[in-house]
Symmetry: D2
Subunit: 459 residues, 4 copies
C-alpha cells in the first residue's frame, strides 16, 4: 500500500514539481511519509514524515533540480513509523547512484537478507527495499539494467512494482504477476510513471498505457522504451485496488475503477434486492457502489450519514468515554433522512465488523425503522501478504463466522455480500489473472504457512 512515481522532464526546474503534484494525487495510497529523489547536476533525496504537502514546500522543490526523478508515498504496514523507513531509498554503489521506490511486499525478505548478511553485508533499515538495492547493485556490476531486472525477478518472491533512478535513468518495473499497478503517461515535455492514472491526469498528462506484468519501462536521454523482462505466464492483479484501494477516477489495467464499483453496486442490487425507503453509502468507501445500487434498483439515493471532512487527521484520546465519542466524531446520522424509514447501508467490505456495528447502531439510534447492510465484495477470509494492510486471520470476522453470525454481530436487519462471480463479472478481468487470495485463500505464490493452490498445480 504505497504510491510510486517516476518523472522525466526537459525543464529541470519543473521535474520535482511534477513529482510533487503526482505524489499529491496518490496521497490516498500512503500518508505516513513522502519523498523524492532527483538526478541533475548532483543526486538529491528529500523525504520526511507526514503528508506530501507537509514534507515539501516551494523552497525545497526549487532546490530539487534535475531532469529525472522518482517519488514515493508510504503507508506503514508495520507499527514502526520511522524516517529511516521512508522512501525512496538512496545508495551509492560501483554503478553510481541507485534510488529505489517500492510498492509491494517480498515474501522471502528474511531469507534474502540472511543470505546477504552471510556475506558480511550490513543493513541500515528494516525495509525490504534495502534488500532490493543490495541485489540490484550486485547485478548491475556486470549487467545492463534489463538483465539486472531479470536476475532480480528470479531472486525475489512476492509483489514488487518499482520506480528506480539509476544515475540519470528512470526505470519502472512491474513484477511478472503484476500484483500492483503501474502506468505510463506522456507530458508536454517529458514522461511520467505512476501507480495510478489519476496522477497522470493531475499533471495534465495523457495516459499512454499500463505497464504490463513482467515489463519494464526505461527513460534514458529523454527517450522512453518498453522492455519485456520476464515471462508472465500467470498474472495476479490485486482485486482490492478495484474494490477499495485505488482512486475512483483511475483506470487500472484498462478498467475504470469508478465503473467497476458502479457495476458492483448494480450486481449487488440484482443479486441481493431488498425493500427499503432509501439507499445510503457508508461514506466514503461505499459511495460509488451505492450510486450503482440505486441506479439499478430505482430506490432513492439519500444519505443517512455525514462524514466530518477533517476527521482523517484527528487523534483519539485515551479513555473509554473518548473512544465512544470517537465514533460520533467521524460520522453523524441524518435524523430527518432516516427517521421512521427502512435504510439500506452499503460499504465496500467488512474487515473486523466493529465499525460496521457502530454505524448500524448510529442509524438505528437516529430513528431508522430497519437497517439493512450490503457489502460490495465477497467475505474477506484470508490475510494479504502482498502489500494490502488487512488484519491477521484472527481479526477477520468472516474467517470464522457465517454471514448470519456477522449479521447479528453488526446488528443489521439483513446482510448480504457480493458473490465472487458477481465481483469478477463487475471487474471484467479474467479470473485467472486476478489475485483473489484474501477472498479465496488461494495464494498465487507460495507463502509459508498458507496453501498455494496454483503452486500445487504448477508442481
Amino acid at each position: 500500500m504505497c504510491g510510486i512515481v517516476g518523472v522525466y522532464c526537459d525543464d529541470d526546474s519543473f521535474t520535482s514539481r511534477i513529482a510533487y503534484y503526482a505524489l499529491f494525487s496518490l496521497q490516498h495510497r500512503g500518508q505516513e511519509s513522502a519523498g523524492i529523489s532527483i538526478s541533475g547536476e548532483d543526486f538529491k533525496v528529500y523525504k520526511g514524515m507526514g503528508l506530501v504537502n507537509e514534507v515539501f514546500d516551494d523552497k525545497t522543490l526549487s532546490r530539487l533540480r534535475g531532469n529525472s526523478a522518482i517519488g514515493h508515498v508510504r503507508y506503514s504496514t508495520t507499527g514502526e513509523s520511522k524516517l529511516e523507513n521512508a522512501q525512496p531509498l538512496f545508495v551509492k554503489s560501483k554503478s553510481g547512484s541507485i534510488s529505489v521506490a517500492h510498492n509491494g511486499n517480498l515474501v522471502n525478505y528474511r531469507e534474502l537478507r540472511r543470505e546477504l548478511e552471510s556475506d558480511g553485508r550490513v543493513f541500515l533499515t528494516d525495509s525490504d527495499t534495502e534488500v532490493i538495492a543490495h541485489l540490484l547493485s550486485s547485478y548491475l556490476l556486470k549487467n545492463e539494467i534489463e538483465e539486472a531486472l531479470a536476475l532480480l525477478t528470479e531472486k525475489l518472491c512476492g509483489s514488487f512494482t518499482l520506480a528506480l533512478l539509476l544515475n540519470h535513468m528512470v526505470v519502472g518495473y512491474r513484477d511478472p504477476m503484476g500484483f500492483k499497478p503501474l502506468c505510463v503517461g506522456k507530458l508536454e515535455n517529458g514522461y511520467i510513471l505512476a501507480s495510478e492514472s489519476c496522477a497522470i491526469d493531475s499533471v495534465g498528462g495523457e495516459l499512454v498505457r499500463d505497464v504490463k506484468p513482467g515489463e519494464a519501462v526505461i527513460i534514458e536521454d529523454g527517450e522512453l522504451r518498453f522492455e519485456r523482462i520476464a515471462e508472465s505466464n500467470q498474472k495476479a492483479i490485486c482485486v482490492f485496488e478495484y474494490i477499495y484501494f485505488a482512486r475512483p477516477d483511475s483506470i487500472i489495467d484498462g478498467r475504470s475503477v469508478y465503473s467497476v464499483r458502479f457495476d458492483i453496486g448494480r450486481t449487488l442490487a440484482k443479486e441481493n434486492p431488498v425493500e427499503v425507503d432509501i439507499i445510503s453509502p457508508v461514506p466514503d468507501s461505499g459511495t460509488t457502489s451505492s450510486i450503482g445500487y440505486a441506479y439499478e434498483s430505482g430506490i432513492p439515493y439519500i444519505e443517512a450519514l455525514i462524514k466530518n471532512r477533517y476527521v482523517g487527521r484527528t487523534f483519539i484520546m485515551p479513555g473509554q468515554r473518548s473512544r465512544e465519542l470517537s465514533v460520533q466524531l467521524k460520522m453523524n446520522a441524518l435524523k430527518e433522512n432516516v427517521r421512521g424509514r427502512k435504510v439500506l447501508l452499503i460499504d465496500d467490505s467488512i474487515v473486523r465488523g466493529t465499525t460496521s456495528r457502530r454505524i448500524v447502531d448510529l442509524v438505528r439510534k437516529a430513528g431508522a425503522k430497519e437497517v439493512h447492510f450490503r457489502v460490495g465484495s465477497p467475505p474477506i477470509i484470508s490475510p494479504c501478504y502482498f502489500g494490502i494492510d488487512m488484519s491477521t486471520r484472527e481479526e477477520l470476522i468472516a474467517s470464522s463466522k457465517t454471514v448470519e453470525d456477522i449479521r447479528k454481530a453488526i446488528n443489521a436487519d439483513s446482510l448480504a455480500y457480493l458473490s465472487l462471480k458477481g465481483l469478477i463479472k463487475s471487474v471484467r478481468i479474467d479470473e485467472e489473472d486476478l489475485c483473489l487470495a484474501c477472498l479465496t485463500s488461494d495464494y498465487p505464490v507460495e507463502v509459508p504457512g498458507e496453501i498455494c493452490l496454483r503452486c500445487s498445480a504448477r508442481a
Copy 2:
C-alpha cells in the same frame, strides 16, 4: 464565519475534551486558528494557528482543567493571519476574568473603537472582539450580566453571537437580529452551547433548542437558564448558513440543513428542468442539492467529478503552469461517466465564476456532449457585512452580468439559478425573518454606503 462553543461539565478533567471535540465538529466554520478558555482553580487560555487537532494534543487538554470553558475556531476574513487575532480573547478586569468568543462582524467597530480610544484606552489587537471585551468590562462594573448584555446590545451594530466565560460563568448570547446561529445541548453531566447542533451530536449530547435572537443562555453553578435580553422585533437569520456554510447534519433554527438543501434541489428541478443523461454535483458543495434534483427528476445521479480528499491543505506554487495544474489537482473528471453524455452539474452558488468555468471545461474535455449548470441559490449580487466572506461587489459576477452573460462566461450549454421564492420555500422560514441581503441588496441594518430598506421603513 467562525465557530463557537461553551461547555459546563461536572467532571473537570473532561470539560476541555468536550470543547475540543465540539470545535473539531465545527472545523468547517474556520481553519485558521483554534482556542479554548477554561475556568477551574485558575483561568487558562490556550490557542494556536491551524486546525483544531494541530493546536491541541492530549497533554495540552489534560492541563486545561475546570468545569467551565468556551472555545473558538476562526476563519480569517481579513488577509491578516496572526496569533494575536486568535480567539477566545482573554482579559482581566475589575469584575475578574473575561473571555470572549465571537461569531459575527460589527458594522460600527471603527466608531466604537475611536470612542474608547478618546478615553485613553489602548488596544492590543485589531479585532472587534477586543472592543466587545472593553465595553463588557465597563458595563459589568455596576451591572449584572443580563443588564450588561442589554447595554452591549444597544451599543453594537452588526452581527454578534457570543460565547463568554466570566470567571466561572458560561454565557451564550445571540444578537436580536439572530444573524448567526447558536444552540444548546444537554450532556450526561453538563451542558454545551455551540454554533451548530452537529457539535452537540459529536459529543453524544441531546439538542435542547436553539437560542432565540435577543436571548441569552447562562450556566452558573451547574444550572442553566435562558434570559430574554433584548426585544427582537425583526430577525435576520443568515440564509447562507443553509445554502452553503453549515454542515448538512446540523439543525438550525428548527430546520435540518440537509433537508433544506435537498428541497432546494427538488425545487430547482421543478423550476428549471433540463433533458440530460446524468446529474452530478460539483463536489462537495453541490452534493445534497444534486441528490434532491435527481430524486425529483428521476434522472440518474452519477458523479462526473472526483475531488482529491487531501486537497484542502495543499499550497499552490507560483507560476502560470502551476496555476493551471492546480485545477486538476483539486478535481478530476470521470471520463467513462461523461463521455458522449449530456451532463448536468449542480453547485450551491457562483461567486466569481472562474472555478465554475474551469469545472465545465474539465467535464467538456473529458468528452461530455453537453454540460448544463444549475445553481442552488439566486444570484449573489451584494457583499455581506455580517461575517460571511464573499468578494467585494466588483468580484461578484452576478452583480454586473445577466444570467445569459454568466452562462457564456462559464461556457455552459444552459444555466439556471434557483428563484428567491423557491429558496424561501425550501428554507421554510418567513421571508422577513431571513437576511437575504447578498441576494437582494436589502440590508437589515444600516451599512455605510449601502441602502437599508428596512431602516428606511423603520425611520
Copy 3:
C-alpha cells in the same frame, strides 16, 4: 533585570540589524525572551521566547524595515514564562502606536492596576509594562511627550528605565532615582540608546553619555535632544550592576565596570589578606576581582576551576543522583593546580550559599590543603524590589547568619566579605547616590513591609 535598546538609523534596512546586534550584546541581561518593535511604512513587532539569535533570523530582520526601533531582552523574575509577557509591548491608542520596553519594577503596580480597572479598563497581560502603556496613552491624549513623562513619573513608584517608540519617535527615559542604567551612542548614520555601553561598542558606535536620572532622550525626525523631565534630588543607582550584573566592558554612569571589579579585588586584598599559594576565581563571576586581588597581593592567579562553556543551556534531570551530577557538569576542579596547595577562591557575592559550599567541596576533594573564600561585596541581607532577582529574605544566608556561621556552612577555612566602605570606595560614586538596599535594608523608596529610612527622613 532586562536589557533595552532604542535605535534611529537613516538606512531603514539596517535599523533592525542594529537593534538585533545591540540586543545580542545585552543577552546577559535576559535570556527568556527577545523582541523588536519598528516603525517604518507600518508598525511591526516581532518577539519570541529564547535567546536573541533563536528568536530572530536574517529573513525576519529583513522584513522589519523602518528608521526607528526599540528592543528588549527579558529576564523572567517571576516563574511565569509566557510569550504574552515578552516585550516590547505594543498598543494602539488615540495618539497612534505606542510600544514600550521596560527595565525595572513598579512597587505600586497592583494599586495602579486596580485604579485603572475601576474605570472599566481591561488587561491582557500580567506585566507592569501594560500599566505604563495605559497611563502613557491617557497622558498623551492632551500632552506632549515631555509632559506625559512628567505625569507618568508622578504616578509611578519604583524603578523604570524605558525605551519607547511612539509612532516614529524614539524615546529613552530614566526615572529620577536612576536605578537602572541607560546611555546614548552616536552611529555613523543615526543614534542608539542602550542599557549598557557594550551594546554601543558592538555596533561600532561612540558613547555620547549616560542619560541622567530624571532625564529623557528624544529622537524625532533624525534629531536627538535631551530633556530634563523630573527633578532628581536623590539618586539610587543600583550597586549590583557594578558588582555582578553588567558586562565588565560597559561604562555605567561614568565608571568602567571592569575597573570597579578590579578595584574591589584590590580593596578586598587590602582589607582581608590571606596566606595562600594560588588565587582562583569562581568562574565567571569572580574573575575580575580575582585578577585585582592577585595584582594587589602578588600571589599567583592560577585557576582552580574550569567551567563548561555550554552549561548555561542544559537542563537538569530529576532525581537525586542527577542533582549531584549537575554540580560536576557546570565546573570541574583542576587537580594539578590545587593538589597540596592553599587555595583562595573569590566570588562576587553569596546568595544562598549552597553553590559556594559545593564549589569549596569540589576543590577540597581535588586535593587542596586549605580553601579560603573572599567575597567581592558585603553580605546581602535584604531582597531587591527594583528589578534584581534575589531570593526572598528567608533564602538569603546572610540575613540570619553571622560570617562565621556562613564560613562553617560553606566549609571554608576562612571567609571574608568586602566592607560597605570598601565597596563604595571601589565604585567611586557618592554613597547617597547609590541604592544599597540589599546590603543595608535601607530602601530608597517606600516598599510595603520594609523600612524606608530615606522616606522617614523626607517625612
Copy 4:
C-alpha cells in the same frame, strides 16, 4: 574532531543519562550533531543535529533503557551538515547489531570504499564510519572481536579511535599510532570510556587510565578487560589536543592539559620576553598560556578583551557592514585597561591571521600604545589529515609567510611563536611519540601528495 563515549551501568535506567552527561562534557569536541546507541531489551539509536541538550530531553533519555551504550558528538569537517552523517552509525549484520562511534579520519577511505563497492556493496552515507562498519561486519563473521580489530587495523590507514556497541558488548579501541585520545573511568556501578577525562569527572567517576595506542578495552557482562590488539612501534599522539582542542581540565596520556598550556606560557615568556604593561589572553583560547606567561614574567595579568559569552551561537548576516560588525560582536576591548599602555596579547595559534589582525586593531583602537603578540605554538605550516579541521595549505598564513611578514599582516608591534623544542618540553612527551605534522610537514603515515619522512625511514 569529535567526541566519543562508551558506558556500562548496572542500573539500566541510568546508562543513557551517564552517556548524556559525558557527551555534554565533550561538547567542545563537536557541536554539529549528537547521538546515543543503547542496548537493552532491544537496540535503540537516537541522534539529531545540534547541541547535546538540544538533541536530548528527559523523555528521550527515559526511553533509552539498557546497560550498555555508546555516544558521539560530531564536529563537521566537511561543509556537509546532514543528519545521515550523525553518529553513532548503526547497522544490522550476521553478527547482530553493530554501532560505531568514530573519532579520526581514514586516509585510505576512498580506496577502501571502492574495494567494497566492487563487491556489489552499497553505501547510504558519505562517512568513513560506514566503511568501518562494513569491514567490521565481515571480520566478525568468523572472528572474535580481538581478531576482528586486528584485521581492521591492518586495513585502515589514518586515525581511528572507536567506541563500539556490539550487541551488549561495549568496546573502545585506539589505533596503534594513538592519534586521538581515549581513557577509561570507573563508576560506582559501572564503567565509562571517553575521549577526555573531563567526561569521567563530570559523572563522578574515577580515571582508571588512558587506553594505550593499539589497545582495546572491552566491557562484557559487566566485566572490563584491556586487550593488546596491535603493536605500536611508533606513536603519533596529536599535539594539538594539548595546544588547543582538549578541555584544560582533562588529563591526556598522563599529562594535564592545563599544566601543558601553563608551561607553554612560561616557556614562551622565557623564549620571548617583552617589555609590556599588561598581559592579556585572546579569550578564551589564550587564557591558560597567558596566566603562565604572567606567572613567569611577573607582568600583571589584566584582560584587554571581553568575550560575549553568547556569541558562539550567533549567525552573521550577509553584507559588508554586517561582517565588520561581527568582529565587535564577539569581543570588546576594555578601553580603561589598555589606554596608553603597552599590551601583550597571547593566543594558542594563528591559522589564517585575519582574526588576529582584527583583534590587534581592536586593542589599538581602544587606545593601546603598543600591541605585542605571542603564540603558544610554532607556526602551522601543513594541513592535518587525521581529524583536526585546519585550513588547506593555501589558507595557512605560516605556510608561505615569514614571522616578520605575519607580524606586519596582523599589525603587531612584535610577534613571536613558541619554538618546537619549547613546545615538546612543555608537553613532556617524547618527540617521536607525538604527531607534529602540522608544524613540521612530517606525516606519521603516508598521505597521498604529502611527504612522509617516517614512512621513508621505515621503507
